[in-house]
Amino acid sequence: MDPVLLVASIMVSATPILLAAIGEMVVEKAGVLNLGVEGMMITGAVIGFAAAVSSGSPVIGFLAAALGAAVLSLSFGFLTQYLLSNQVATGLGLTLVGLGLSALVGASFEGVRAPGLGKLWIPGLAEIPMIGPMFFRHDFMVYVSLLLVAAVWAFLKYTRAGLILRAVGEDHESAHALGYKVVRVRMAAIFFGGACAGLGGAYVSLVRVPQWTEGMTAGAGWIALAIVVFASWRPLGVLIGAYLFGGVTVLQLNLQAAGANVPVELLSMSPYLITILVLVIISARGVHGAPGSLGRSFHASA
């Protein structure tokens, strides 16, 4: 196996999960547990695909996917933040709605090919032998996802708004007492998380596959949720987790293609088994860094 091709394909396979996971991390940092990542991703996948095919432009596809999934996530936000519904149940509901909605919208797009996404050669760096083809000859979304991780890191660490967001997630009663608008901050975080999940989903349907098939995200949203736990709610951890997972996926696909003497089913289930294994190791070590108010409804009682 050519190491250059291997690294390059790991980056492609990690990108959708990275996008979804970094968005979900921000949502959880604000104290909201949105289990609907899978539903938002698949919605993004179908909307992005439909928009890209109809307009002929993948960029429009990605924008539409981000917007569509973010709008869908607002329904989750409205239910959990204003109507104070249970976050676990509502997140599951969001996933079920998303799966149904995407299957409905996508039915007429089965078998259609998406417009390709050009490779963006980073000037200068792309010419370096070995390193260039590995890291600097990708489509623009790979770079967007990496920039997004850096931006989230800087936002949470250095900006005032980031500090407020973390305060809301750690202790919403105190944040409320200090005069911060808990619900508004959370709605913004949910919207951002939805947009990121939509981008991740669109990356699956427009770049990784690139085709629309029903249920094509195949649990990527759930894996993104697991990666946030793995990362202990830190952006760098999310990056490492997503790339590790991308590596496992690429390896098992390559083993399948090479006709290794292992049952195909065992290889296909390996990413999920490894996710469980990682969760087990993390919890055995003790989960650190979960925001204090994660998953709790906030109601400003008079």
Binding site: L79, G100, A107
Partner: protein
């Protein structure tokens, strides 16, 4: 200015009204959705909710289907509801359902072509054990290491799907099936075929088991100390711990019950309506059962009714697909919306709406 005021107790009236309100809202929004798809909305709603039971031509076929589809949904949802009451989120029932079917079928097929009357009960037990064992993975990880049961149980669904694929294409494949994937057909093996008990009712052993589960769950939750402990753990975990309830035991108990019931449901399905182990014999009942559990307000009787309603949407959806060319996926969306509207209207159960002028100090 609208203000929410927490009720000291959830309203009993609204507990019953919200599911009905959610159904009505789903019909309205679903109707709009059908209109957007260019289908006559009223006719579509009637086809989904009325025709399966009362259409002169189709009702004869579709009425028995009601129990066939409601059986597994109710059986799985009863198990899930017990866990949800305790705040234990087993969302991998689909995986436990598959593993129950595979384990039970494997045990049965090991004795092929036996015609012992003991074989079918043995398979039911094996199916329950298979589902139970699959649910014990997240349970033990949760109690020993504190691993999140939501993610583990869900990941195990994908693992179970791969095991099912390998079972149907290799180790449980019918040796006389001329190489086609899929196990032996249980419908051609009278000793274990889970046939209708009364002709044209759809009543098979799985439906009987579902009814027994409803009664047993009612007794457990309303009359038995363990049911009280389960409810206490969900509503006041600290109080539960102080009164000597072990959280670990509750996790093991709840996941064990829901896993065993889901596994049994899988076995009944595979030996009855599905007929054989195939790569896609599971029709997502494990996920729909989550909606059933919530729609039934986590109450056994409610789940019974919700299961029948959800079965109706399945059959009506198929009918609408046939008659009006409605896309099959729209029913999935319909079911998802139902859960969404239920969760939204639930605000009335737990809160009073107050209209106040301006901010009060």
């Amino acid at each position: 200015m609208i203000r929410l005021e927490k009720r000291p107790q959830p309203s009993r009236l609204w507990t019953i009204v919200t599911p009905l309100l959610a159904v009505v809202l789903t019909m309205v929004v679903g109707g709009i959705m059908f209109a957007l798809l260019g289908k006559p909305p009223l006719e579509a709603i009637r086809t989904i909710f009325w025709d399966p039971l009362f259409h002169p031509q189709f009702a004869g076929y579709s009425r028995p289907q009601l129990l066939v589809k409601a059986g597994p949904l109710i059986l799985i949802a009863i198990g899930l509801s017990i866990g949800f009451k305790a705040g234990i989120w087993n969302i991998g029932a689909e995986g436990q359902y598959i593993m129950g079917a595979v384990t039970g079928a494997a045990v049965g097929l090991a004795f092929y072509p036996s015609d012992s009357v003991l074989l079918f009960p043995l398979m039911v037990v094996a199916g329950a054990l298979g589902g139970w064992a699959w649910a014990m993975i997240p349970a033990v990880l949760k109690t020993r290491l504190g691993t999140n049961e939501i993610l583990v149980s869900l990941m195990l669904v994908y693992v179970a799907e791969n095991i099912l694929a390998s079972a149907s294409s290799s180790w449980l494949r019918n040796p006389e099936g001329m190489g086609f994937p899929g196990s032996r057909n249980f419908k051609q093996w009278p000793a274990v075929f889970n046939d209708e008990l009364v002709a044209n009712t759809g009543m098979h052993w799985g439906v009987v088991a579902a009814f027994i589960a409803v009664i047993a769950a009612y007794v457990l939750m309303a009359r038995h100390i363990q049911g009280f402990n389960i409810r206490l753990t969900g509503e006041a975990p600290r109080a539960a711990r102080f009164s000597g309830v072990s959280p670990a035991r509750i996790v093991i108990l709840c996941l064990g019950i829901s896993g065993a019931l889901a596994g049994m449901a899988g076995l009944f399905e595979v030996t009855g309506p599905a007929g054989q182990i195939t790569i896609d014999f599971n029709s997502g009942y494990g996920f729909t059962a989550i909606i059933v559990a919530f729609l039934g307000r986590l109450h056994p009787v409610g789940i019974l009714l919700a299961g029948l309603l959800m079965a109706l949407t399945y059959i009506g959806g198929e009918l609408a697909q046939l008659m009006l060319g409605l896309p099959g996926a729209s029913i999935q969306l319909f079911q998802g919306m139902l859960l969404f509207f239920l969760l939204a209207t639930d605000v009335f159960t737990n809160y009073r709406i107050r209209f106040a002028k301006g901010e009060l100090a």
